[in-house]
């Protein structure tokens, strides 16, 4: 059979290609372009090859920031995910109270990042802040601008306050989607509360939890505004995350080349970790189904 070849349909794709080009590809390629060049102003650029990447890999400053990022993401995931699940489990399943709780939960999510930072900045001040001052008057030696541990605790607390609701909302949506019959069967089978969680609720929530963990990881790994407003990266460099360092480098020191190289590596790390996590989780699902379907 003779097929008529007509490629005119490709023109239909042009608007999307243009949109994506201007919104993503061209800006990204500009960064790629900077990453291999050096400039001394006057819009003059010199090719430097992989020198910036080479420097970056030898830079303690970069790896320290990376470690802080990883530590921060691990801590907040370890707190927010279990806490979010626990709160979701204790929410009622129906009734008017549900709406009240959900709206209250969603409030922190609606507050802009820098406002959250400001709220906590004031809240935690040891001279006038409600939290800070209370802690000090209770006898704690609390000062987040001076003490590294205090600064970290404050940032973690701020993130938990800001984002646990997201995990709660996602977990809750997973929980209410479980058909009643499962809980009835569990009661008939004499399952304990823990067994019901372990064998019904948790497996059924796995999908939404994957999303929750991915979102929380990406966001926490990219965190910038809140610690920037709260501690400005200090005391010292103790809360300088990669994003803060990047901005310092690019805008503060105007080192466009090294900053571009760093942002590319930063981007790749997030992409890689998310990809790896997602692949592992979906493969786990596939493996389950595969062993299940052979009969």
């Amino acid at each position: 059979m003779n097929k008529t070849w007509n490629n005119k349909a490709w023109w239909m794709v042009v608007p999307v290609v243009l949109l994506v080009a201007f919104s993503a590809i061209i800006p990204l390629m500009t960064v790629v372009n900077y990453a291999f060049q050096d400039t001394f102003g006057n819009n003059e650029f010199y090719w430097v090859g992989v020198e910036w990447f080479d420097d970056l890999m030898k830079s303690d400053r970069f790896f320290d920031a990376l470690q802080r990022n990883i530590l921060f993401s691990c801590i907040i995931l370890a707190i927010e995910v279990p806490l979010g699940i626990m709160i979701a489990l204790s929410l009622p399943k129906s009734g008017w109270k549900v709406n009240v709780y959900l709206v209250l939960m969603a409030l922190p999510l609606l507050i802009p990042w820098n406002v959250v930072g400001t709220i906590w900045q004031v809240f935690s001040r040891s001279d006038i802040g409600l939290l800070g001052n209370t802690l000090v008057s209770l006898g704690f030696d609390y000062n987040y601008t001076r003490d590294v541990l205090d600064a970290w605790i404050t940032i973690v607390a701020m993130d938990v306050w800001h984002w646990t609701s997201l995990v709660v909302l996602l977990s809750y949506s997973g929980l209410v989607a479980i058909p009643d019959a499962y809980f009835q069967a569990a009661r008939i089978d004499g399952a304990s509360k823990w067994a019901t969680f372990r064998y019904i609720q948790f497996p059924k929530m796995r999908g939404v939890l994957t999303i929750a963990i991915l979102l929380r990881f990406m966001d926490s790994f990219k965190i910038y505004t809140e610690p920037m407003v709260l501690t400005g990266g200090g005391p010292g460099n103790s809360t300088t995350f990669m994003s803060i360092d990047l901005v310092k480098m690019a805008i503060g020191q105007f080192d466009l080349g090294p900053a571009a190289a760093m942002s590319l590596v930063y981007f790749m790390i997030i992409l890689l970790i998310c990809y790896a996590f997602f692949t592992v989780v979906t493969n786990m699902d596939k493996a389950d189904t595969k062993t299940g379907s052979k009969s």
């Binding site: 019959a181 499962y182 009835q184 009661r187 062993t291 299940g292």
Partner: protein
């Protein structure tokens, strides 16, 4: 294993019932004997599942009490009632293997492995699932999953009763037959009290010793398949059991004579002069057709259509403006000008839908 007694049981969803129609379940007094296989039969929404969930404790009744033997268990939580229940749609624990699923009710109740393993193997054999004992339950087909649900219902031997809530809905027809037969055989062997909810009369009739026919939250009749067939106590039972269902004719009654479609029919019993809405009921199995040239008494009928079922055929008839049907052997002749006659022994008389007892 226990006798189940329902005393003045009633239930209204949402509580605070004001009138009769607020009740999903209306005042029920019944006894299920120990070791009996019973069916609850009725159309969707008639309260079968409500009644079942009350017995298993998933629901607490608004009124009345439930006894297992002599113990009041009305407000005992499900877990302590020691009941097994199988639901309409399969419930399996995804992350467990088939064998672990079957063992789950035993593990939860603290049986030791030495007892669990042989029991699980027994159930695996019963449901012919042995070859997939170590397969994760997640990816199984719906009917395999339902078999696991059934297995979990049967795995405990010490339960007070096993309740089935339309358990074979998702199973394909051939397997349905096989599983039902196995369940029945198992019930007879072990003698567990079993209650089987269904809207399929064949399922109910083949499974149960006694069947409760339900409509609008009330049990209309509770009897053996034979009683339901021969003497339905309510027109709905007559209509619901049997295929096709019982024929009903509006009629007038005086003593032992019924008048319908302008014809007099002799009755075996005398009913006096009852008032209200009177109906004569006769099963299609007991309607015979004769050539008008040979016998003149009976209802003159017009044959509207004939449906062949293989061994039998259903003949749809019209007499006056009453439509009814007769179930004849496939070989029976259908006369061109026919009269229909009713087997006088099999006629039932209904007053306002309820059966009326006559005097011999």
């Amino acid at each position: 294993m226990a006798k189940i007694v329902l005393e003045n049981l009633a239930h209204a969803y949402g509580g605070n019932p004001q009138q009769e129609s607020d009740y999903a379940l209306k005042r029920i007094n019944y006894v299920w004997n120990d070791g009996e296989a019973c069916a609850l039969l009725g159309p969707s929404g008639c309260g079968k599942t409500t009644l079942l969930n009350i017995i298993s404790g998933l629901l607490e009744p608004s009124e009345g009490r439930v006894y297992f033997d002599d113990t009041d268990v009305t407000h005992v939580p499900t877990k302590d009632k020691n009941i097994a229940q199988v639901f309409q749609f399969p419930v399996v624990y995804d992350t467990m293997t088939v064998a672990e699923n079957l063992a789950f009710p035993l593990v939860n109740r603290g049986f030791d492995q030495a007892k669990i393993i042989p029991r699980v193997e027994e159930i695996l054999d019963l449901l012919s699932l042995r070859h997939m004992a170590n397969v994760k339950a997640k990816g199984l087909t719906a009917d395999q999953k339902q078999k696991i649900s059934l297995g979990r219902g049967l795995v405990r031997q010490d339960v007070n009763a096993v309740l089935f809530d339309e358990p074979l809905t998702v199973i394909d027809p051939l397997m349905k037959w096989e599983l039902r037969t196995q369940l029945r055989a198992l019930q007879q062997k072990v003698g567990q009290t079993m209650i089987y909810v269904t809207h399929d009369q064949i399922e109910a009739l083949t499974f149960a010793d006694r069947i409760a026919v339900m409509l609008d939250g009330a049990i209309l009749q509770f009897g053996t398949p034979r009683e339901l067939f021969e003497r339905p106590s309510h027109t709905f039972v007559g209509y619901f059991i049997g295929s096709p269902g019982m024929n009903f004719f509006p009629c007038e009654i005086k003593d032992d004579r019924a008048t319908l479609v302008g014809q007099n029919i002799e009755l075996k019993e005398s009913y006096g002069e009852p008032i209200g809405k009177l109906e004569l009921g006769i099963r299609p199995e007991f309607v015979s057709l004769h050539d008008r040239a040979i016998r003149s008494e009976g209802l003159p009928v017009v044959v509207e259509s004939v449906e062949h079922l293989g061994r039998n055929k259903i003949v749809r008839l019209l007499s006056g403006d009453s439509k009814f049907s007769a179930l004849l052997s496939e070989h029976a002749d259908i006369p061109k000008h026919a009269v229909a006659q009713f087997d006088a022994d099999r006629i039932c008389i209904y007053q306002d839908s309820h059966i009326l007892d006559g005097e011999v």
